[in-house]
């Protein structure tokens, strides 16, 4: 395009000077930039462009800009002869184009424009660039809301990659055992929105989890608001599923103010802050059964201080630990605690004491010196009678046959057999009755058992052996590790056991050899000197009671 520009400059004296400028370009830039063909101070850097169009000379503003034509703002205009376009007070007027030019314009500069508006010709602020604050802010808001909330909420997790599904809502990792089962399935526990995780979710797998106390007492002790997850909290680092703090117990048990309470206050493990021990003793009760009476064994919680063992066993620890009286049959050495007491895998309890395993080595049940290999059966008095009667019947019958054939007589025949001159049957029954009396009342059963002799002629009902039940677990609601407590300063073996269990001086089996709490305080007084080993409640007690303890609790609640 060939364009003629007539610049009208008003000089100081008021005289107008006209300067012609001929341009031969496709597009004439108009604006305040120094690069513009037509530089207009106060306009935008590039305000618009003049170009040739089919309708004539076209002035087109750059995006978002406008010019004034006849008092109206327009973004583009065809500059015909006489058309006045006003830009920042400057006037651009279409004039007749001389020969050789496609168009011609006349420029009247605005004399009032301040040179300081020259800044508009440049991008001098960050706001002039592509940088923005609002749009990125809205984009950031949308991104966070969509990918942080809406998508994980609306779209099922299995349709989404891990970094946008609901696993990004997890505030921390699951316990590995839960993670194996649940993976990233949040809905496995969080079954409904805006609802806390319910206990049923836990008991789906944890079928055996026992309540802290009986369901009927839950409301009484304020447990109706307590959920599994109140204590067992997931999503923590480090993993923190089990509560061990003593406050878990003392929050309630320091002041147990429940009606009909059987629970004593406990503040911690130190003298005066923890109740004296109570034992869960297996205790017999005589009950009517059929025509007579029988023993019913039940666990009873009794104070240690006044506890008496009623196992019905006749036994003296003192005698058995006295090397002058009892030695190991094989080695001739004194018995040790471990000769009878074998620790179980839990390091707390010991295998049950048992006649066949622990006693019979010394206390055999021989009853006929002529038959040193015969032993009476243990455990059933009727079997004992039958065994003796059968044994002597056979012995006397053989003796009778031998008397009829003197030449076949056995040389070392027992003199007792020869002394009886009655029939073999009569002799055998008489002999069995004598031996039964000896075994039941003088040196056999009676050594360990309490035996009642009713004096009846019929042997089968004459002797009653009172049954024995030993307590295996004296503290259902407590844990104790014997193994770690055996390691004491300068002490080992039985010396370790007898620091707590006064077996060497216990002459009778009614003695309870369980030590009192004061024994524990010698090392575990949490308010004692610096070198004491403090104990949390959970060091000895479990929050969720064992099955045995639950049955005891049930029993106690019935007696309330």
């Amino acid at each position: 395009m060939e364009l003629l520009i007539k610049e009208v400059v008003v000089a100081a004296k008021g005289e107008a000077q006209v300067r012609d400028q001929a341009l031969s370009v496709d597009e004439v830039l108009v604006g305040s930039s120094t690069q513009c063909h037509v530089q207009l101070l106060g306009a935008a850097a590039i305000h618009g462009r003049l170009s040739k169009s089919s309708k004539g000379l076209l002035f087109k503003c750059d995006s978002g800009l406008s010019v004034e034509v006849d008092g109206e703002s327009v973004s583009q205009v065809i500059v015909e002869v006489g058309t006045e376009v006003e830009i920042a007070g400057h006037r651009l007027t279409g004039i007749e184009s001389p020969t050789g030019f496609d168009a011609a314009i006349e420029l009247h500069f605005n004399p009032d424009i301040d040179p300081s508006s020259f800044e508009r010709a440049f991008k001098t602020r960050l706001a002039h660039t592509w940088l923005e604050q609002r749009r990125p802010a809205w984009i950031a808001v949308a991104l966070v809301a969509v990918f942080g909330l809406i998508v994980p909420w609306v779209v099922p997790a299995n349709y989404l990659p891990d970094f946008v599904n609901d696993s990004i809502w997890s505030s921390g990792p699951l316990h590995p055992a839960h993670a194996i089962v649940l993976g990233d399935d949040c809905g496995g526990c969080h079954t409904s929105s805006f609802t806390r995780v319910e206990d049923e979710v836990c008991t789906t797998c944890h079928l055996q989890a026992s309540l802290h106390t009986l369901p009927e007492l839950h409301q009484t002790v304020g447990f109706d608001e307590v959920r599994c997850a109140s204590c067992h909290q997931e999503h923590h680092e480090p993993v923190y599923l089990t509560v061990t703090d003593s406050a878990l117990c003392t929050d309630c048990h320091a002041k147990p103010d429940w009606p009909n309470q059987v629970v004593q206050p406990v503040h911690g493990f130190s003298p005066g802050n923890h109740p004296q021990f109570r034992l869960d003793l297996v205790t017999p009760t005589l009950v009517d059964q059929g025509s007579g009476q029988a023993y019913d064994w039940a666990l009873k919680s009794v104070p240690l201080a006044t506890a008496v063992e009623r196992s019905n066993l006749q036994f003296s620890h003192e005698v058995h630990l006295d090397v002058g009286k009892v030695q190991d049959l094989g080695t001739g050495r004194p018995l040790s605690c471990a000769s009878c007491h074998t620790a179980q895998a839990d390091d707390e309890h010991f295998a049950s004491i048992n006649m066949e395993r622990h006693c019979i080595g010394c206390h055999d049940l021989k009853f006929d010196s002529a038959a040193p290999l015969r032993n009476l059966p243990h455990g059933d008095p009727e079997e004992v009678i039958l065994t003796m009667e059968g044994h002597f019947l056979r012995a006397y019958l053989k003796n009778e046959q031998a008397s009829e054939a003197p030449r076949r007589r056995i040389p070392d025949q027992d003199a007792d057999l020869r002394r009886c001159t009655d029939t073999a049957q009569a002799c055998a029954l008489e002999r069995a009755a004598i031996e039964a009396n000896v075994q039941f009342t003088k040196r056999g059963c009676v050594l360990c058992h309490e035996v009642v002799d009713y004096g009846d002629v019929d042997l089968m009902v004459r002797y009653h052996v009172v049954p024995i039940q030993l307590t295996d677990n004296f503290f259902l609601n407590a844990r104790f590790n014997h193994h770690v407590h055996l390691i004491q300063d300068g002490i080992s073996g039985d010396a370790g056991c007898v620091t707590c269990h006064a077996a060497p001086t216990s002459a009778t089996s009614v003695d309870v050899l369980i030590p009192g709490i004061d024994q524990c305080f010698t090392c575990h007084d949490e308010q004692g000197p610096d070198r004491q080993i403090a104990l949390e409640c959970a060091s000895c007690h479990a929050f969720h009671p064992s099955v045995e303890l639950r049955s005891l609790l049930t029993l106690q609640s019935k007696t309330l």
Partner: protein
């Protein structure tokens, strides 16, 4: 207000911030129970979380307060000072709320975004404390508009004078004036990048950093001028170009300093919006999967 944001009212807001931190640490320290580790779910964690959320909302309101002239509670100066102190303080409160438990999740996203906002805010604080003085030193009593006005006049004089010179100088000087770049894109503004050029007689464009090559060209032409008028014109032109050079350098430095004074806000404001959203998401999500 530039150099005393930090000590408004004799450090009043510093002590407010310290009080907030001390109380927060005190609340946090009561989480001694071994029932659970310190986290946002304990009552202490909830207290700290609510406090941190309220602080974030209040800190965001500075943007509203700055634009509100009717608001009477405290001056903008008070608000800005407290904004700076509590903005740093909220980092402590939020960290204690989190109990230092972090992971790849929306909760930590809120924390990281908040952290980024604080970092950008600290950068902004640094520029607010140091740049205004440097800007004033650079402007030497002339503001930017005045400098541009002076440049415009010098440009007009330069073009007029150049027309009296030989074709080589005329082309170089006029194109050099026309192609002087000031400001421009983000990088050009922030790093004062100079993309100025000038044209030689044969139409080749040469870089013209700091206008030095053009001034060099004109000054070398003076000894070779054989007419007195041309020498005078060249000397006048040289003076104009040197004055231009000084003005342009000051303008470019002004644009650079003013640019940095604003640049941090382009990070601070969008991230603030993102943080606020993430905090809302964090709170909602906590209760969706309670």
């Amino acid at each position: 207000m530039f150099d005393n944001i930090m000590r408004v009212r004799n450090y009043r807001y510093f002590w407010w911030c310290m009080g907030s931190i001390v109380v927060a640490v005190g609340v946090f320290a009561t989480q001694t129970s071994s029932n659970e580790p310190a986290n946002g779910g304990t009552w202490q964690g909830l207290v700290l979380g609510v406090w941190a959320a309220l602080l974030i909302v209040w800190l965001t309101l500075l943007g509203v307060r700055k634009r509100s002239y009717r608001f009477r509670l405290g001056t903008v100066q008070d608000w800005t000072s407290l904004h700076v102190y509590l903005g740093v303080g909220v980092l402590v409160v939020a960290t204690l709320h989190a109990g230092l438990q972090f992971g790849w999740n929306v909760h930590t996203l809120a924390y990281v975004l908040m952290f980024a906002v604080i970092i950008s805010g600290v950068v902004g604080l640094f520029t607010y404390l140091s740049y205004p003085r440097r800007i004033a030193d650079n402007q030497q009593g002339q503001n930017r508009s005045q400098l541009f006005g002076e440049l415009y006049e010098l440009n007009q004089q330069g073009i007029k004078t150049a027309r009296s010179c030989g074709p080589e100088v005329q082309t170089a000087a006029i194109s050099g004036i026309q192609r002087t770049a000031i400001g421009g894109g983000v990088l050009s503004q922030l790093f004062a990048r100079d993309l100025s050029r000038f044209e030689t007689l044969d139409g080749v464009q040469q870089p013209n950093p700091h206008q030095a090559p053009l001034i060099d060209l004109v000054s070398k032409r003076i000894p070779r001028a054989d007419k007195h008028d041309e020498v005078t014109a060249l000397q006048d032109l040289l003076v104009i170009l040197c004055r231009r050079q000084a003005v342009i350098e000051r303008l470019r430095k002004d644009i650079r300093l003013q640019g940095w004074l604003q640049a941090w806000l382009y990070v601070h404001v969008p991230l603030t919006a993102a943080t606020l959203t993430a905090v809302v998401v964090h709170i909602l999500v906590t209760f969706i999967y309670w």
